[in-house]
């Protein structure tokens, strides 16, 4: 089937092409990753018409590796939300149940990886953006260490959180392709400090799990993850319960940091130079850009702009932004302590399976945060992690995630490969 066929069924593409050359493999990129020949709207109407002048480093590297880019996948507006329902191009449908969401922000990427045979998706995250959709759509999702994959050509939301990663139904793709997109790139200074990628690391022999994880997940996820832990134990992996005291501040800290940075990143969109530029030019500048932003930003971008601006204002930055930065430091320290005695941490990826659209409609902003609670601690700490399907609850996939210390992508990839050897993935449509 051609991309158009998949797209009409699942709506995962922001833009695509049906006649791209075969290539060694086909891949997609989420719509915030620049690629020549494709518009980059980053889920927002305000960027309609932005055709980037060059490839992002990651896309160029995968093309170099023989990949052929079939399209740009739908993402939440500026990767802000976590259900995959705010993209300007429409809402992708979960391959396991069209009445359920794919999860966000990299919603389309997960749907593509789950449905298109042999497909590899370049995806992005500014917190839980790879974890959540990969878990909801039953695929493997890799989020490398912050600074591992060049962000040159990644439209930024929160620079200190934004990362590019991979999604695939087969984790062997990570071993094959992560080295192709991991290198020091002078065009993204944050990639210059990375040590060499070591894929020789073995799967973890001892893992830690948060002590109270049972209370943090739904009753359908609980037994499945319990089974997964037992299976790890059977394979000779030591499983210990540990505490992560700052866990409970992680979501709030992430909201403050991401929105603070995000509101500055979003400041540039004013309806001039790129994207939508069709406002009333007879207006003064202030009125012009206010109109353009009011009209073409979605609620996600507007909320992030207002909230993010507030938390960095002089009077309150001490108790919001600066406190959040302190929490981030504490999280890194707490994780480092865990890694002194453990190779990795395992957790359920999301506390629930993908919710139905009608369930999400009733959720307020705070009520929907639960989706990210188990991803944001290491989302903030910048540590590499992988999510993998570990079971199915009423026909919907459940994800288990594994994270390791900074720069140890080798550990999480080995873990995913080892898991995939014994875990039997059930393809969408085949689940009873």
């Amino acid at each position: 089937m051609k991309p158009s066929g998949y797209n009409s069924r699942y709506g995962m593409f922001a833009s695509f092409s049906d006649d791209v050359p075969e290539g060694k493999f086909q891949f997609s990129a989420s719509d915030d990753i620049l690629a020549l020949g494709f518009e980059a709207r980053c889920g927002s109407e305000i960027l309609r018409g932005y055709v980037p002048p060059e490839d992002s480093t990651a896309v160029a590297a995968l093309r170099e590796a023989g990949g052929s880019l079939v399209g740009k996948t739908a993402i939440d507006e500026f990767k802000i939300c976590s259900f995959g329902m705010t993209a300007e191009c429409g809402v992708p449908r979960n391959p396991y149940d069209p009445d359920r969401c794919c999860g966000g922000s990299s919603a389309g990427a997960a749907a593509a990886a789950a449905t298109i045979p042999g497909h590899v998706a370049l995806a992005s995250s500014s917190g839980a953006g790879i974890n959540v959709p990969a878990s909801f759509c039953g695929v493997y999702g890799l989020t490398p260490t912050w600074g591992r994959v060049s962000r040159h050509g990644l439209i930024d939301y929160a620079g200190s959180c934004d990362r590019i990663g991979l999604m695939s139904a087969d984790p062997a793709d990570f071993r094959k392709l992560l080295p192709r997109i991991s290198f020091r790139d002078p065009r993204d200074p944050s990639s210059m400090a990375q040590p060499d990628l070591d894929l020789g690391l073995g799967a973890p022999k001892s893992v830690a799990v948060f002590k109270d994880w049972e209370w943090m997940v739904s009753k359908e996820v609980r037994p499945i993850f319990e089974n997964a832990l037992a299976e790890l134990g059977d394979k000779g992996v030591r499983v210990d319960a540990v505490e992560l005291p700052s866990l409970r501040y992680a979501v709030a800290a992430h909201r403050a940091i991401a929105a603070a940075e995000g509101s500055t990143s979003l400041a540039r969109y004013c309806g001039l130079r790129y994207g939508r530029q069709d406002g009333d030019l007879s207006l003064g500048f202030d009125e012009y850009f206010t109109n353009m932003r009011s009209e073409h930003f979605g609620m996600a971008a507007k909320f992030a702009s207002v909230f993010g601006t507030y938390v960095r204002m002089m009077d309150v930055r001490g108790s919001y932004y600066m406190d959040a930065v302190a929490v981030r430091g504490a999280l890194v320290a707490e994780f480092k302590r865990i890694f002194e005695n453990h190779d990795a941490v395992v957790l359920p990826t999301v506390p629930t399976v993908a919710p139905r659209f009608d369930e999400i409609k009733g959720l307020g902003l705070q009520e929907s945060e639960y989706v990210e609670t188990l991803s944001l601690p290491h989302g903030l700490a910048g540590m590499p992690h992988v999510t993998m399907p570990c079971g199915y609850a009423s026909g919907m996939p459940v994800g288990m995630q594994l994270l390791a210390d900074h720069w140890k992508e080798g550990t999480v990839i080995a873990a995913a490969e080892a898991w995939s050897k014994s875990f039997k993935t059930i393809k969408p449509g085949a689940v009873k």
Partner: protein
């Protein structure tokens, strides 16, 4: 009266602060831009190392504290010349803080020295619309912020002139008048201060401060209250006008720039040479060499290389010889001295000291010394001199014969003698000292009158 200045100077880097676009060259609007300095989504800033080194050189010159770690911040405001609507600047961790500048005997405290990017420029056109040129977008600036230690507009101007001279020397910039300096001027006559934004050039700084001093004094004398506010300077009308009241401080919502990370200025500063402030050099010439303060100032203000040459030569000979040598021999070659590289200047200093020693010992004449100096700086081979000491009187007599008009001219104006002196000098190529040539020429011409 208290005056504090915030001075912006463009740094002479070849490329911009956060991208590789050239800082000068084609002046066609928007010809020196890239997706980075136009703020296109997806493009990350990269840091210009040279700009940091320049900033550190200035921080060292002011004797600032240089932090272990430093970073850039995003200063967010909406204005069309600012392509990303945030300016890359330094907020919490400037590369220099708590320095001083010696204005003669007075110490002016320097609160901070930090780097930032220039926005683009706006040109308003007749029909009420505006055109934006992003060529300047991202050009590195250094901002130098003083404490309110200046006490008069004249002193502020003198401070600016002296300090900028030192800044330009440190940065290896040519003196381009005061074209590249922009100042925010804070002034209070009573309790409350006003800030006059974006004043260009030394003369305007002094004028705007004078205007403000008078205005604030009048307000206070009339029993009024000076309101804290930002004002603009109207260069044409030479007045300041209220821009906006400051009910609250500007709030730019600074946050750390996540795309550039942290850099280590203190480690970098180790390899950056500190230049001496000119007032320190004057002090050293007076203190260590017993030079007259006026002469010392004259030498330093002519060129700091001249001052350096003075000390090298004085170390090899003595103060008086060196003073004479620098003021009468080297000063003719000021521009050439300023134009050569540091390494070349080092070589020239050594050779110059050697020439001065020989001249003092009478081994060569002052004339030869000057000729050799000229050749040295002109990159020519030093001519062979003082080989054949022909008969000076014979030569001058012949020259008078060849130029009989000199005699009549000399009767009217003694300066006519210079023609004969010049010809004799050229012909004898330094074999005789200038005083010998002058005396002989004078004697022989006067003998014929």
């Amino acid at each position: 009266m208290k005056i504090g200045l915030e001075i912006h100077v463009q740094l002479p880097t070849k490329s911009k602060l956060f991208c590789a676009c050239p800082t000068s060259g084609d002046d066609l609007p928007n010809s020196r831009v890239c997706p980075g300095c136009l703020g296109f989504p997806g493009f990350k800033p990269t840091l210009n190392r040279k700009a940091i080194e320049y900033g550190l050189a200035l921080a060292k010159m002011f004797g600032c504290t240089i932090p272990e770690a430093s970073w850039f911040s995003r200063k967010t405001y909406f204005y069309p010349d600012l392509s990303r609507h945030y300016q890359g600047t330094q907020f919490a961790a400037p590369i220099g803080s708590n320095g001083t500048y010696a204005l003669g005997k007075k110490k002016i405290r320097i609160r901070r020295v930090h780097l930032e990017e220039d926005p683009g420029s706006i040109r308003r056109v007749g029909d009420g619309s505006a055109l934006i040129d992003y060529n300047r977008s991202g050009v590195p600036l250094v901002e130098i912020v003083t404490e309110p230690d200046l006490s008069s507009p004249a002193e502020a101007r003198r401070f600016l002139a002296d300090m900028l001279r030192d800044v330009r020397r440190t940065l290896g910039m040519r003196d381009d008048g005061d074209r590249t300096v922009r100042c925010d001027c804070n002034i209070s006559v009573g309790k409350e201060r006003c800030e006059v934004k974006n004043v260009t050039g030394l003369r305007n700084v002094e004028r705007c401060l004078q205007y403000e001093a008078v205005r604030q004094t009048r307000v206070l004398k009339a029993g009024g209250v000076v309101e804290r506010e930002t004002r603009n300077y109207d260069e044409g009308r030479k007045i300041t006008t209220s821009a906006r009241k400051k009910g609250y401080e500007d709030d730019y919502g600074y946050i750390g720039e996540p795309d550039l990370g942290v850099f280590r200025p203190r480690a970098m500063a180790e390899s950056v040479c500190a230049t001496e402030m000119s007032s320190d050099i004057v002090g050293r010439l007076v203190g260590d060499y017993g030079l007259d303060p006026k002469v010392a100032e004259q030498i330093v203000h002519t060129s700091c290389r001249m001052a350096s040459l003075f000390t090298t030569v004085a170390d090899a000979t003595d103060t008086e010889t060196s003073r004479y040598w620098v003021m009468s021999v080297a000063s003719d070659h000021k521009d050439a001295l300023d134009a050569i590289s540091d390494a070349e200047f080092g070589d020239v200093s050594v050779i110059a000291a050697d020439l001065a020693v020989k001249q003092k010992a009478g081994e060569i004449t002052d004339t030869e010394c000057a000729i050799r100096m000229g050749c040295l700086l002109g990159g020519e081979d030093t001519p062979e001199c003082s080989v054949a000491r022909g008969n000076l009187e014979e030569i001058i007599n012949r020259l008078i014969d060849e130029n009989p008009g000199v005699l009549g001219d000399y009767a009217k104006n003694e300066k006519a003698l210079n023609r004969i002196i010049g010809l004799a000098m050229r012909e004898t190529r330094g074999a005789y000292s200038s005083s010998e040539v002058v005396l002989t020429a004078k004697k022989l011409v006067e003998a014929r009158l």
